[in-house]
């Protein structure tokens, strides 16, 4: 909660809004106790007194009533009606939305058709129609304003509920014996509530304005009762001769609506999980670079990662996701990076092209060289030109590279045309060719599909086609086949293997599967807690792992043909990256850890071809 408030008030506009609305609230709450005139007592002799007149700080209106008193009482009423309308609309609308979204199917169809119909009317007309049917009066205006806002809540909340209703914890609740009502109230509602609060905070200002509008037209509060709208309405005829009578309530409406909306936007932003994880600034186009120490000299590799360090600064903590990683590939070579989740594989890969989200990501040391040119800290334009054209990525989740609203063929064609001059028809033909290359059946027809019309495996193949589109020199594939079926995986691995042999493509292949590494990669680097613990030719590392971690990890993988058996496990969990143990990061889980392992940093050493970061490496057998 306090984190939420800090975040909220770091946004200056929201803080200002909160200040203004708090002041107004304080005023209207204390109104009954203030020494004010009776707001409804007329004194025709004193009509249209100017502000700062004796006894009437804001002057009087056309009947000689005290404007300050009427303003405060009117604000009180307007706020109360607006908030009540917002609450009613939120409760009814959200209930409708939750029921429709949870049950889905026919219920959803019928309910949402009705809501759509309501939404099809311009809402001021709808409100007028409702008040006309019920008769004028503040209560009826409240009902009308609440009613016209119900669809807004119903739609928003339904959208959120549909997403939640498909989640596994709802199924789990049913299997735990919960009925529908209980699920909606105890499983769904707590998850939907923040969205309802956001929707309310962003609409209550408008509802106050709408009530004022109805009162202005004489359909809301009835004389002599004052609310902000009716005060404006009554002042209409004297607008030119005595402008203060309309300026006073007008200014108040402006202040209320502005401050509530600023605050509402602030609340919405502060509850946004994307902002919560980092600072309150927009993500930068490339990763922030704050390099300390020397920049390593160029080598003659195609792509070289040299002593790369990438950190995440979150609050006071500093997570060392990548702590000095060096890797290199030559044309036609496939380098595997293997390790468990959180070991820093993805962050290493993303750092190459400055794709780590900043904030919170910071590259704090090392270099990444493409043909000798340092990419770290390179201008955005240089990186943009190289992204996709020279170095392409394939991610585990293809949806991160595919736009949901465009046909895949068009996206492929655009990728090609962004780096090469080609006619539309040629680009389309090439797109079909690429889809065929990645073995999408019926490519001529599939080229016009939207991403959501394809299966996961199919989408991943499109993702690979996108990466291949511009015939890059290096492909960085981050677990590209992890979510795929084995038969599809086998085909994609073959495809990548062919490409590197035929076109000299260099591949950095990130995975956690030893089988895949063994089949595809020439060399492999094993990562643990942000560092490389072992690197060498695949065959050598797999046959004679030298690091205790590598050895234990290989033992954990069940091999086919072994029959039923107990599997080996590594006790414990990987260390937290903001609090790495001194010395060897694997020491707390290592069965042969000694006192010396926990002292200084253990260097990556050994023959150039097979390096290991361990003081007591396993012996070859």
């Amino acid at each position: 909660m306090s984190a939420f408030l800090t975040l909220l008030f770091r946004n200056r506009l929201a803080a200002m809004g909160a200040g203004v609305i708090a002041a107004i609230l304080l005023l209207v709450l204390t109104t009954p106790f203030l020494p004010l005139h009776d707001p409804d007592v007329t004194a025709t002799a004193d009509r249209f007194m100017r502000p700062f007149a004796e006894g009437h700080p804001l002057g009087t209106d056309h009947l000689g009533r005290d404007l300050l008193s009427r303003l405060l009482h009117g604000t009180r009423l307007s706020l109360a009606v607006g908030v009540a309308a917002a609450l009613i609309a939120a409760v009814i609308g959200s209930s409708i939305g939750m029921v429709a979204g949870y049950f889905g199917g026919r219920t959803d169809n019928v309910v949402m058709r009705g809501v759509d119909m309501l939404m099809a009317f311009p809402y001021i007309l709808l409100a007028l129609a409702i008040v006309a049917a019920l008769g004028p009066g503040l209560m009826n205006a409240l009902i009308a304003v609440a009613a016209v806002n119900v669809p807004f809540f119903a739609r928003n909340i339904r959208g959120v509920t549909v997403g939640l209703a498909g989640r596994e914890f709802i199924d789990a609740a049913r299997l735990a014996g919960m009925g529908h009502a209980r699920i909606i109230l105890t499983e769904l509602l707590p998850n939907v509530l923040p969205v309802i609060v956001i929707a309310m905070s962003t609409t209550v200002g408008w509802m106050i304005l709408e009530t004022a509008g109805l009162s202005f037209l004489g359909l809301g509060s009835q004389p002599p009762q004052a609310d902000l709208g009716s005060m404006l309405g009554e002042a209409r005829s004297a607008m030119i001769s005595h402008p203060h009578t309309s300026v006073v309530p007008g200014l108040m409406i402006f202040l209320i609506v502005m401050s509530i909306n600023l605050l509402g936007d602030g609340v919405r932003d502060a509850l946004d999980p994307r902002l919560r994880s980092g600072a309150l600034s927009r993500p930068r186009a490339t990763t922030l670079v704050r390099r300390q120490g020397d920049i390593p000299p160029a080598t003659d590799d195609l792509l070289a990662i040299q002593d790369l360090r990438t950190e995440f600064h979150i609050g006071k903590r500093n997570y060392r996701a990548v702590g000095g990683v060096s890797l290199a590939v030559r044309p036609g070579e496939c380098l595997g990076i293997i390790g468990e989740s959180g070991s820093g594989k993805s962050v290493t890969a993303l750092s190459v092209m400055g794709l780590v989200a900043s904030p919170p990501g910071v590259i704090s040391g090392g270099a990444v060289r493409f043909l000798g040119e340092d990419l770290i800290g390179a201008p955005y334009e240089t990186l943009r030109q190289k992204r996709g054209d020279r170095v392409a990525y394939v991610f585990q989740d293809p949806l991160s590279t595919l736009h949901p609203l465009y046909r895949v063929g068009r996206q492929l064609a655009e990728t090609i045309r962004s780096h090469h001059v080609l006619s539309k028809a040629e680009a389309r033909a090439r797109a079909i060719q690429l889809l065929n290359d990645v073995r999408i059946p019926n490519a001529e027809r599939r080229v016009d599909d939207y991403p959501h019309e394809m299966s996961g495996g199919m989408r991943q193949r499109v993702g690979i086609a996108m990466a291949l589109a511009n015939e890059p020199d290096v492909i960085i594939a981050d677990e590209p086949t992890t979510a795929l079926d084995v038969t599809v995986q086998a085909q994609i691995l073959c495809l990548l293997d062919d490409l590197r042999r035929e076109r000299g493509l260099a591949i950095i292949f990130i995975t956690h599967d030893f089988g895949v590494v063994a089949q595809l990669c020439d060399r492999v680097a094993v990562m643990y807690a942000g560092g490389i613990v072992e690197e060498g030719p695949t065959q050598v590392v797999l046959d004679t792992p030298a690091h205790p971690y590598t050895k234990r990890l290989i033992a954990c993988v069940p091999e086919p043909g072994g029959g039923r058996r107990e599997l080996a496990a590594i006790p414990g969990l990987p260390p937290v990256l903001d609090d790495l143990p001194p010395g060897c990061a694997f020491a707390p889980r290592c069965y042969k850890a000694e006192e010396s392992c926990r002292k200084g940093e253990v260097p990556l050493q050994g023959p150039a071809l097979h390096a290991v970061r361990c003081l007591f490496p396993e012996r070859a057998h």
Partner: protein, 318 residues
């Protein structure tokens, strides 16, 4: 008496009716299948995404109503009882351990629901039972007052297993329970499951796409393709000497240390379209042994050697 017996179980998802014309026949996610699981056995279910594994599992626990067929647990037919009735006999462990826990509930609230709602236990009994279950899955009791996001994948999956155990079921359907976990943790969870099974006399239906894992944990394995059973047999035999060409393709596709990379399948083969299923054998479009007979008549599941059944007109010989 088998722990679980399924007969002609099938599920067809209706499709949206077009504006004009009759409703299309619907997507056949699970075609009529029959099998049984003996008490104390682990039956592995393998197949690729979209082959109907999860649809089958969801029917078994009552989350989805079958279009036809029956489910019997320990000799009792379950008809169309709701998930609450099923819940006491058969429970489910989901693939995504974080997704199966409500992010806004403490672990204690999650654990209490089945005890209170399925077994009507009073508070002291519940506390005792939760402590007992947590001890059996090696979780510390201080975790009970935390929220799901505070746990790693492996811990969250233990919690999900603990929740399933709280219902005291006879059978647990494990739907890809370790696919989201790292190998070092995967082994911890698999060993825990094996240990619980022997201690509590449970029966498992273990769904996965990982052949090595299924072999390591199962007694028998069912291979699904396109919504139907294509082969059943003893775990150690099915992949070592498959009779169905699809099982053989699966076995050859799995990446294995020490086997060189080879695409076991020719390019340009066509996957069947669930909306427009081919006549005859659904695998014919990808099968190197397919003949005209295969494309005309659907093969039935036939006994092939001891303990092994396959649905193929021209099974592989060994």
């Amino acid at each position: 008496m088998p722990a679980l017996k399924v007969e002609h179980l099938a599920k067809t998802f209706p499709l949206k009716r077009p504006l004009f014309g009759a409703a299309p026949p619907g997507a056949r996610a699970v075609r009529p299948m029959s099998f049984q699981v003996e008490a104390g056995e682990t039956l592995g279910v393998v197949g690729e995404s979209g082959c109907g594994k999860s649809t089958l599992a969801r029917m078994l626990v009552g989350l989805l109503e079958p279009t036809e067929g029956t489910i019997e647990i320990e000799g009792e037919a379950l008809g169309s009882a709701g998930p609450a009735e099923f819940g006491k006999l058969i429970q489910y462990v989901f693939q995504d351990p974080q997704g199966s826990l409500n992010p806004r509930k403490t672990i204690r609230q999650v654990m209490e629901a089945p005890l209170r709602l399925l077994h009507g236990m009073a508070k002291p009994d519940r506390d005792r039972r939760i402590a007992e279950i947590f001890a059996s899955v090696n979780l510390r009791e201080e975790y009970l007052d935390r929220y799901p996001h505070e746990f790693s994948g492996g811990q969250a999956q233990r919690i999900a297993i603990a929740r399933a155990l709280a219902a005291s079921p006879r059978i647990i359907v494990l739907d890809e329970p370790v696919s989201a976990l790292d190998v070092s943790v995967q082994a911890q969870v698999l060993n825990l499951l094996a240990d619980l099974k022997t201690r509590l006399g449970l029966t498992y239906l273990f769904i996965t796409h990982d052949l090595a894992v299924v072999e390591a944990v199962s007694d028998r394995v069912v291979v699904l393709y396109f919504g139907a059973v294509v082969e059943i047999g003893r775990a150690e035999r099915v992949f070592a000497s498959p009779r169905h060409p699809y099982t053989s393709l699966l076995a050859k596709s799995a990446p294995v240390v020490g086997r060189s990379l080879a695409a076991p399948e020719q390019k340009g083969t066509e996957l069947p379209d669930p909306l427009n299923p081919p006549p005859g054998c659904a695998f014919a479009g990808r099968c190197p042994r397919a003949t005209d007979l295969c494309r005309a008549r659907e093969p039935e599941l036939k006994q092939m050697g001891e303990d092994q059944l396959a649905a193929c007109h021209h099974p592989l010989e060994h």
